[in-house]
């Protein structure tokens, strides 16, 4: 077997050249894709930070409103009662003392009521629709998504604690959309009473591939706790739709 000659070297050289070409293609592909991947990760982190910032801003606003409310209550109600007590005590007749006792009891009752209202005050103050609109506004403020809000029905939930859980569910859905969907459009629709639809036109995912114990299962369990039903519908390349059915109010 002859292993020399120009043909042999030509074959070896062209084989090596083709192999190098294929390797270069793969390396170039990997290099460009990794650059895009890191850029995407950076953009996601930025979007997440911006959303957190908007949430913080909203929380601060809410806190300011609450403080304003507390200040007003203290000044207009408890402050007035204390002034009256002071007036009564400047002339300590038995009648005035009895009246002052009654005023002190009123002041204590009002303070207790104020403190109780303060705990879940922010959730009481805001309606579900207003909350969803404010979340939509926050996402719009990020500037990377087209956000739509459409309302054809009403949403309500009985207990304030349940309302807070529902707020958290909606926020988590939004967070997931921002972080993972790579969507351009996000829509919030209330097609009928007690039915909320969150939809995006992102890359979607295969529901069959989602591991048990993941965030989505957790969301569904939390919804069940408050008597709601959360349905997730997604296919790769076709975006994601989340339907939240709230419990019907007892008439």
């Amino acid at each position: 077997m002859t292993e020399s000659g120009p043909e042999y070297f030509f074959i070896i050289a062209s084989g090596t050249a083709i192999l190098m070409l294929l390797v270069t293609f793969i390396i170039a592909f990997l290099f460009i894709h990794q650059r895009k991947y890191f850029e995407h990760q950076r953009k996601l982190a930025h979007l997440d930070a911006k959303y957190q910032e908007e949430t913080m801003k909203a929380q601060m606003e809410m806190q300011e409103k609450t403080l304003e409310y507390v200040g007003r209550e203290l000044h207009d109600n408890i402050g007035q009662i204390l002034s009256l007590i002071k007036l009564n005590l400047s002339n300590p007749e038995p009648e005035q003392i009895r009246e002052s006792k009654g005023l002190v009891s009123n002041a204590i009752k009002d303070l207790r009521a104020l403190s109780h209202r303060m705990n879940l005050n922010w959730a009481n103050e805001i309606s579900l629709i207003d909350f969803i609109e404010s979340e939509a506004k926050k996402i719009r403020n990020i500037g990377s998504f087209k956000v739509y809000f459409e309302q054809h029905g009403q949403l309500s939930i009985e207990n304030t604690e349940n309302k807070v859980v529902l707020f958290r569910i909606i926020q988590e859905c939004i967070n997931n959309t921002i972080k993972h969907s790579a969507a351009e459009e996000i829509s919030f629709t209330i097609p009928e009473n007690q039915h909320l639809v969150l939809k995006d036109n992102g890359k979607g995912f295969d529901l069959g591939e989602v591991e048990r114990g993941s965030g989505l299962v957790n969301l569904q369990q939390r919804a069940k706790v408050i008597g709601a039903e959360l349905l997730i519908n997604s296919k790769p390349g076709e975006g994601t739709r989340i339907d939240i059915y709230l419990p019907q109010n007892k008439a």
């Binding site: 292993e3 043909e7 042999y8 294929l22 592909f29 991947y37 890359k203 790769p236 390349g237």
Partner: protein, 220 residues
């Protein structure tokens, strides 16, 4: 030992390592399990091919049966991962390939001649699917391809089919001119095979570490 024997032995060592990994690294992922089956099957085919050569001076039958099964599974694995293809298309590609291979085996080239038509048809379909998937990877910056076993599987197919295709063309061309050089090209074919089975093994190892990481995350 001449260069062809050396190259074949090296390839056989790589294939044995890949086969051992396939036996040991179990997975819940269907595509990884298919890949494990393919590597074990290829190893057994190669062993059987050596025995056939010793007994009958010819191992074409083993090659033709390998050509009937393995590319069909490659097509199934890759097509099931491509989002832009509709489900009926994904399902029918492997069936069309197997149908074509059986027809060729029974009526055209036959069992005792190397099924070149089937081989080239398989090359075209697999390469088309590989390029589709590469395009999808390229358009989706959110996928972490370095940790995706399928990416290594695709690179392996890319080398195996482009390399194998070019080598086959060169062999067919050179047989007319210089038989000795044509035979020497088998060295390049075995180098391509080594790259292919190393990458398949890498895909298995990455899948194993991904699952290990996932189970650690779940535990915490």
């Amino acid at each position: 030992m001449d260069s062809i024997t050396l190259a074949f032995n090296t390839y056989f060592s790589f294939l044995t390592i890949a086969c051992l990994l396939s036996v040991n690294l179990q997975s819940k992922d269907l595509r990884i399990n298919l890949l494990r089956f393919l590597m074990i099957y290829t190893f057994l085919s190669e062993v059987l091919a050596v025995i056939f050569i010793m007994l009958f001076q010819n191992n074409i039958i083993i090659n033709n049966i390998w050509l009937l099964i393995v590319p069909a599974l490659f097509i199934f694995i890759v097509s099931s991962e491509i989002n832009c293809l509709k489900k009926p298309v994904k399902g029918s590609l492997s069936i069309i390939y197997v149908g074509f291979a059986i027809l060729n085996l029974l009526f055209f080239e036959g069992l005792h001649t190397f099924n070149a038509y089937t081989s080239h048809f398989g090359v075209l379909v697999v390469l088309m699917l590989v390029f589709f998937k590469f395009k999808e990877y390229f358009d989706d910056p959110s996928s972490d391809i370095v940790r995706d076993p399928l990416f290594y599987f695709l690179i392996a197919l890319f080398f195996f089919y482009i390399g194998g295709f070019l080598v086959n063309i060169a062999i067919n061309y050179l047989i007319e001119i210089n038989m000795n050089i044509a035979v020497q090209l088998l060295v390049i074919r075995n180098i391509v095979n080594c790259i292919t089975y190393s990458l398949f093994s890498l895909a298995l190892i990455i899948d194993y570490f991904n699952r290990k990481k996932l189970s650690l995350t779940s535990a915490t």
